[in-house]
């Protein structure tokens, strides 16, 4: 039987760095973008799936569940560049019918024309993740986004007309100075556009971002306090559920049948191979992440050398821990049977005490052969998940 595998492609480029963004991404010139695309295509076509084992044979071994082009802003790529990348993926993994596979691309309003969207759809992209973030122009300006709310609506409209039937939309809440009604306005506008999937995040000020500097210098409008932030999350959840969206993961909601197949893989220990600078992979029992250095990546690939990366080998213990703390991110939690099949012992043998204690504290529920977080457990999930790390 073939093993399921997801493919991730990292595009470390954007038009302008957003003030909250701590991803590996930066504005780029034509030359660098072209060189990067060429390197990416070469990596996909020629490089071993396991860098430390060049003889690793994968021909026909894998069944590709999903392809995800993320960034950065992948939509800064020219259409033909995206096409060449997809073609490389299809060739490498023998994908003959892209329609059988979830193929997602992240796009940002203001970077794609209706023609681009049409071409992307034709090239095989069948799911879009649109970085809308907010429907308030002043908030978009504060975040450092290059688009307006109107641009976002236009992009969604154009995407539908280009034939996209699986569209996701990103929102960020708890923005500096944001009030409850302002936040709910964005949530409601998002729902009114009828996307199949909505991801909702609360802003976290990450070190090294422009926001972190502004916060330090007291130039950032006041952040909503913890109570307001929680209320925003609760109200958002209620509104989305009233409108048919189900919260299937801590930050993700979808209409029935539209959960992200790609992201679900990350939470169920599915193998994935990331191509490009900064991309992470999990192949077999090895997780490796290419260095976040665009030029270094291009140089290595052009020279046909090994791409610099950090590697960790997952032990059975690591995998048990990840199975639990990643699986618990999902509303349906983890399955006792899956655990036993993967690890050859019961969950209770390993985590009996933790489960009992957490259930007593009302943080998890064990029922119907599954283990899942309660609503309270979800709010404080880091605390719950830390308990699943083994000594």
């Amino acid at each position: 039987m073939k093993e399921p595998l997801s493919v991730y492609i990292h595009i470390p480029f954007c038009v302008r760095k957003c003030r909250y963004c701590d991803f590996f991404s930066a504005p780029c010139g034509d030359t660098q973008r072209k060189a990067y695309t060429a390197a990416l295509v070469r990596e996909i076509r020629e490089y071993p799936l396991l860098p430390e084992d060049p003889a690793y044979a994968e021909s026909g071994k894998y069944d590709i569940v999903s392809v995800y082009i993320g960034g950065g802003t992948p939509s800064v790529l020219k259409t033909e560049e995206t096409e060449s990348i997809l073609a490389a993926v299809f060739d490498r993994f023998g994908i003959t019918d892209p329609g059988q596979c979830e193929i997602t691309m992240e796009i940002n309003p203001g970077t794609v024309t209706p023609e681009d969207l049409h071409a992307l759809r034709q090239a095989g992209i069948n799911r879009l993740s649109v970085g809308v973030q907010s429907f308030n122009d002043s908030e978009l300006a504060l975040l450092g986004r290059i688009h307006t709310a109107a641009d976002a609506c236009a992009a969604l409209d154009a995407a539908k007309r280009a034939g996209f039937e699986n569209i996701s939309l990103d929102l960020i809440g708890a923005l500096p100075g944001q009030t409850m009604p302002e936040y709910m306005y964005s949530v409601k506008r998002a729902v009114s556009l009828k996307p199949q999937h909505i991801s909702v995040y609360s802003l976290i000020i990450e070190p090294g971002t422009v926001f972190a500097g502004m916060l330090e210098e007291n130039r950032l409008p006041e952040l909503p306090d913890e109570d307001t932030e929680r209320q925003m999350a609760y109200d958002c959840q209620r509104y989305l559920e009233e409108n048919g969206y189900r919260r299937y993961e801590i930050s993700n909601y979808s209409l029935p049948g539209y959960m992200s197949r790609h992201n679900t893989g990350y939470w169920t220990l599915r193998q994935y191979r990331g191509f490009g600078a900064g991309a992470s992979s999990l192949v077999g029992e090895t997780r490796f992440t290419a260095a976040a250095d665009t030029d270094g990546y291009i140089r290595a690939v052009n020279a046909g050398e090994k791409i610099p990366c950090t590697t960790e080998h997952l032990t059975q213990k690591d995998r048990m821990e990840e199975f639990m703390f990643l699986g618990l991110r999902m509303r349906d939690g983890v399955s006792r049977t899956d655990f036993e099949m993967l690890f050859g012992c019961s969950v209770d043998e390993v985590y009996g005490n933790v489960l009992r204690r957490q259930e007593e504290n009302g943080l998890i529920i064990c029922c119907g052969g599954r283990i899942m977080l309660t609503d309270h457990g979800t709010d404080v999930s880091n605390r719950v998940m830390a308990e699943f790390l083994l000594d």
């Binding site: 991730y8 504290n361 709010d379 880091n382």
Partner: protein, 603 residues
């Protein structure tokens, strides 16, 4: 040169930071036993902790050879002494081995509280004391005023006190000369039966207990059978020697007047207690030397390993520390909150901190210390009295007739401009004003009687901050007095935490309870549920604070590249839990048990 008249046994006494150790270093350097290059700074302080804190804890001795101008050679035994009030006992042990003392006074600060305390202690031991005035290189030095102060306040002749800078080496030659001239040679009869005083000891895993002695009469040599007169133990001497800088140097014998050490495969220090007299088994001396003043622990606290598995290690470490520190007392106790541990007695708060740090550093233990307290006398209705060292053992109120607490007489030396704030502080601490003595126009000694439990933890800090560091302080236990005392319990999440209970004067209970709750609220991190913190006296709640529940602790995004990062975050979270002590179902940081007591620092 081993002639008894060429021996000088002396120590240096001073207020803390007045330059005692620096002077000792210079003297060692100038007597030529070490080259400048070999000198680590402050040779005598060879414990890390001492070097870091700049204080001397464990007294040390060193033998120096001084060649006088006339060509005669003198054997100096320099015995370093601690300067802090907590270590009066150690000072007294060292002093008993000396015939004289050099008093070091800082030319900028003049006489301080511990200067007086140490001088009086030296005079009590019949030592000849001569003063030197140090730090004359500093721009603010006022040596002539200080000279007058020494004469007026202490009554020592300071007319020819050497003016020195130990740091720069200025005048140290004069000090060496003065040692010869002003400190008497030891008396004692080398032919008489052996009579030697144990003034310190050190445990060595290979040699057993190394016993530091001052020979009064007779001589001690290898192979001699000796008896410790108080313990009755008999041993055969295996090695005798003297103290080189930082090392032990074996020699043939130690005779009357000499200071040195012996080993005799002694495994148990109870056999060779400090203060005991050593004599020859076959030819014993008539009577033992007068014993030392035995140290009474003044401050008690509970010490627990944070990992309960390490209780035996803690026990072992305490045993070893006690080998070198006879003033350390300990006995096993159990706490509901903290498990198995020890109730330990210390000379004072600094002594306690030093022991805690040594346990953690030298024995790699992770410890929890409870509130330090003093010894209360509890008179019960049945006519019996118990000495209470652990608040948890306080009998039921119905069985208590009355309680007494220890009172100290304190001398605080302070610039007159801070008299007001310091008197106010003493008043707040239930002090009884005895009087003020003016040393000069701008400085005075305040005399107070204070309950010991009011000064054991943060009094010194408060004193320093209210006098901008210009006050110095010394105290002596006076007696016990009846007092209106109550036991305060601290309830965390409705459960009394025995390790946080303490005894307090009824009038101050409300205030202390309130501040204790406020402080605990800062110390206890938010948990997954709301945690009430209450202070109670006799079952009545007198103060309350609440630690709000954590409402949110969640990582929004977790995709392919975030997983390793996420795991590190969770590991950090889990690591943080290890610094916590579970009390009931509440996680309390280990340091909270100590920190809550430092209520008034900065006032």
């Amino acid at each position: 040169m081993n002639a008894q008249e060429n021996i000088r046994n002396f120590c240096i006494v001073a207020h803390i930071d007045h330059g005692k150790s620096t002077l000792a270093d210079r003297m060692i350097e100038m007597t030529g036993l070490l080259t400048s290059r070999e000198m680590q700074s402050q040779v005598l302080d060879n414990m890390d902790l001492e070097r870091e804190r700049g204080i001397t804890i464990k007294s040390q001795a060193v033998r120096l050879i001084y060649k006088a101008d006339d060509g005669a050679e003198y054997m100096f035994n320099l015995i370093d002494t601690p300067g802090h009030v907590d270590f009066n006992y150690e000072v007294s042990r060292s002093l008993a081995a000396c015939d004289g003392a050099i008093l070091v006074v800082d030319a900028t600060q003049g006489i301080q509280a511990q200067t007086l305390a140490n001088v009086y202690l030296a005079l009590e031991h019949d030592l000849d004391v001569f003063p030197v005035i140090n730090k004359i290189d500093l721009p603010s030095a006022r040596p002539e005023e200080v000279r007058k102060e020494i004469e007026d306040v202490i009554g020592l002749d300071a007319s020819d006190a050497p003016l020195i800078s130990a740091k720069q080496g200025t005048g140290v030659e004069d000090v060496l000369r003065a040692v010869v001239e002003r400190i008497p040679a030891p008396s004692g009869d080398s032919e008489a039966p052996l009579k030697a005083l144990i003034f310190d000891s050190l445990y060595d895993p290979y040699k057993g207990v190394i016993v530091f002695i001052r020979v009064r009469d007779g001589a001690v040599r290898k192979g001699m059978k000796v008896t410790m007169m108080a313990s009755g133990a008999e041993e055969e001497i295996q090695e005798v020697g003297y103290f080189g800088p930082g090392q032990f140097i074996p020699c043939e014998e130690l005779s009357a007047g000499m200071v040195g050490y012996f080993t005799a495969s002694i495994k148990n220090i109870q056999e060779a207690r400090v203060g005991d007299t050593v004599t020859e088994t076959l030819r014993p001396c008539g009577e033992a030397l007068p014993g030392y003043k035995k140290a009474q622990p003044m401050v008690y606290c509970g010490i627990y390993p944070s990992d309960t598995q390490r209780y035996p290690d803690l026990k072992d470490a305490l045993e070893k520390l006690q080998l070198n520190d006879a003033s350390l007392f300990y006995e096993p106790e159990t706490s509901l909150a903290l498990g198995f541990g020890f109730r330990c007695g210390f000379l004072g708060l600094l002594h306690m901190e030093v022991i805690l740090e040594r346990l953690e550093r030298e024995y790699d233990l992770d410890l929890i210390a409870t509130a330090p307290g003093v010894v209360y006398k509890v008179y019960k209705t049945d006519g019996t009295m118990i000495e209470l060292t652990n608040p948890s053992n306080l009998p039921d109120l119905s069985q208590i007739d009355h309680m007494e607490e220890p009172i100290v007489s304190a001398e605080i030396m302070v610039s007159t401009e801070y008299l007001g704030p310091i008197m106010q502080l003493c008043q707040e601490r239930r002090g009884r004003y005895l009087g003020t003595d003016y040393i000069e126009q701008t400085r005075a000694i305040l005399r107070y009687e204070l309950p010991l439990n009011e000064i054991i933890y943060d009094f010194f800090d408060a004193l320093k901050s209210r006098s901008r560091g210009y006050a110095s302080f010394d105290y002596d236990l006076k007696d016990y007095e009846t007092s209106k005392l109550v036991k305060m319990d601290i309830l965390v999440n409705k459960t009394a935490v025995d390790a946080l209970s303490f005894i307090v004067h009824a009038d101050g209970a409300y205030d202390r309870g309130r501040r204790m709750c406020e402080k605990l609220k800062e110390e206890i991190p938010r948990q997954l549920f709301e945690v009430p913190i209450q202070a109670a006296v006799g079952g009545r709640i007198i103060a309350r604070e609440t630690v709000k529940a954590v409402r949110k602790d969640v990582l929004a995004k977790c995709y392919g590249g975030d997983i390793s990062r996420k795991k590190k975050l969770l590991e950090k979270q889990k690591e943080g839990k290890k610094r916590m002590q579970m009390v009931g179902n509440v996680e309390i940081p280990k340091e909270a048990f100590m920190n809550v007591l430092k209520l008034d620092a900065g006032n």
